[in-house]
């Protein structure tokens, strides 16, 4: 990773004003724009007791936050490091009962965020009946479809309104617009969240300059701050831009298997992020 210019480092430090203990944080799926770069200022801020909402599944970033003891609860459809295996800190925390887990299913998380996007208190979805996912969610409801003459149970999912959405995407512009391309779940996250903090690979002049780029743009209206951080998703990849660093993920998976190993990994990663050594965490 090229060392970020001072302005980026300053901006990342400033981003700390967004972080508060007890916040709910929306984080994207591993291939769709995780802002790994924001992990370090988030940890550095000392804030904790986060309620994570993984959109719709979680990976390295969520696992680090759990390992660092910052997470109170997590709503997710899965936690995994993909080809690198299970999420070690998550698995440990679940076994130890040190976090509250709200198991969901992908479309339920999307549905909850979309309800928030529309300003609706809840929405309906098919499926889920007879699952232990539903049985364990006392914050979901089942009603009889009022449009059906025959009995027809339907699950209602309440709106999910995160306090802050964190993500990374390919482009931002001087007006604060960001280009998400086909990853429209990033827009849904931003619509649903009270605030959004976004890192981008690079800044361009104006994403509304053509209808082609406007079509994949999330307007500045939903973006509270944009920070240019090249390679900001590493060691994850960025969809359509660069691939992931599987060896780095495997190394994490191996080291974080114990609390001590995780602590050592984290110390090194934070040091690297702070620019004390070269290279990316």
């Amino acid at each position: 990773m090229s060392r970020p210019p001072p302005s980026t480092r300053d901006q990342l430090a400033q981003a700390a004003t967004f972080f508060q203990s007890g916040m709910s944080l929306a984080l994207p799926v591993d291939y769709a724009g995780v802002s790994m770069a924001l992990t370090w200022p988030l940890l550095a801020s000392g804030t904790k007791d986060f309620d994570l909402v993984c959109v719709p599944t979680g990976g390295l970033q969520a696992d680090i936050l759990i390992g660092a003891g910052r997470v109170r609860s997590i709503e997710t459809s899965a936690m995994t490091l993909g080809e690198a295996g299970g999420a070690p800190c998550f698995n440990r925390a679940v076994r130890e009962g040190s976090i509250v887990i709200r198991d969901a299913t992908c479309p339920a998380i999307h549905a909850g965020l979309q309800a928030a996007q529309r300003g609706a208190p809840f929405t309906a979805m098919r499926g889920l009946l007879g699952t232990d996912v539903l049985a364990q969610r006392n914050d979901w409801r089942v009603i009889d479809n009022p449009f059906s003459d025959a009995p027809d149970p339907v699950v209602l999912i309440p709106a999910i309104r995160p306090d802050l959405a964190l993500f990374h995407c390919p482009l931002g512009d001087r007006q604060g617009n960001v280009w998400i391309g086909r990853r429209r779940e990033l827009a849904t996250m931003a619509y649903a969240a009270r605030r959004s903090l976004v890192t981008v690979e690079r800044l361009v002049d104006d994403l509304f300059a053509t209808e082609e780029t406007a079509a994949g743009t999330l307007p500045a209206l939903y973006v509270d701050q944009v920070i240019e951080v090249p390679q900001g998703a590493r060691p994850y990849g960025l969809w359509g831009v660069y691939g992931g660093d599987l060896p780095a993920l495997k190394r994490y998976a191996a080291e974080a298997r114990t609390p001590e190993g995780f602590a050592a990994w984290l110390e090194e990663a934070q040091a690297e992020a702070a620019g004390i050594r070269g290279g990316a965490p």
């Binding site: 339920a108 009946l129 007879g130 027809d152 429209r184």
Partner: protein
């Protein structure tokens, strides 16, 4: 041409299970189902039957969704996905799938990633193929510890979809939602009913002498080893290389 390997038989079996589908979705980490779907697509062209659309999730090159990760689920909800593959940490005799963990929820002794979209897709995709290469009593249990997705639903529950078959490294089962339960349809070459019985924690129906799983015809095998292997190499280079090596060295396992 060398004989079909066990993996090739599984791929060809999947292609057979997918006969007639218009659109099949496959997870990014599922090379055997993807290969089966690619073979079905190639066969459909050969047979001049309606074209088969294949969506490989998470792939940039083989993914024509443009509305983010919600589109798969929306698409399935609209009835536009005919077939999908599901695996499980545990699968029981009622077709229930557990992707969450072993022991008492939530703090059991083993935790798996989670249910992903199974709690929805299992309900709305008409032909869900359960696929797990490993076949052991640890996986195929009498009753799952956690139901991520139920095999069958009571009357009155909206359920256009559900499991249609279970394919493992040992054999092929049909699922009957009316019972609900599995029937062994065939045993893969080199394995036996007794072996499958011993490796399966639930009881299942079967003929006294279940047939062997059908090997692909030479034409199908040629298609698999030619065009499909090339297509596969683009998305699953490691798996395609393994498969190619099997063919040239042993012609089977």
């Amino acid at each position: 041409m060398t004989e079909a390997s066990k993996r090739e038989i599984m791929i060809a079996t999947i292609a057979e299970l997918l006969r007639g589908v218009r659109h099949v979705a496959v997870g990014a980490a599922s090379p055997i189902p993807a290969a089966g779907a690619m073979l079905r697509r190639a066969l459909a062209e050969e047979e001049a039957t309606p074209p088969v659309r294949l969506s490989i999730l998470g792939s940039v090159a083989h993914n024509f969704f443009t509305n983010g990760s919600v589109e798969l689920f929306d698409c399935a909800g609209q009835g536009r996905i005919d077939a999908f593959f599901l695996s499980g940490g545990q699968i029981d005799g009622q077709g229930n799938v557990n992707l969450v963990g072993v022991g008492d929820y939530p703090n059991g002794k083993v935790r798996w990633p989670g249910s992903f979209g199974s709690s929805y897709l299992y309900f709305v995709v008409p032909r869900v193929i359960l696929f797990r290469e490993e076949h052991s009593p640890r996986i195929f249990v009498e009753k799952v510890d956690f139901i991520s997705a139920p095999g069958a639903s009571p009357e009155g529950v909206y359920r256009p979809g559900g499991p249609s078959a279970l394919l493992t490294g040992l054999g092929l089962f049909d699922f009957e939602s009316s019972r609900p339960g599995f029937t062994l349809r065939s045993v893969h070459p080199g394995h036996s009913l007794e072996e499958i019985r011993a490796a399966t924690g639930f009881s299942f129906a079967h003929e006294p002498q279940p047939p062997l799983t059908q090997a692909p015809t030479p034409e199908t095998l040629a298609l698999l080893r030619g065009r499909v292997l090339d297509e596969l190499a683009e998305t699953y280079p490691g798996f395609a290389a393994e498969l190619a090596a099997e063919i040239t060295t042993t012609g089977g396992d």
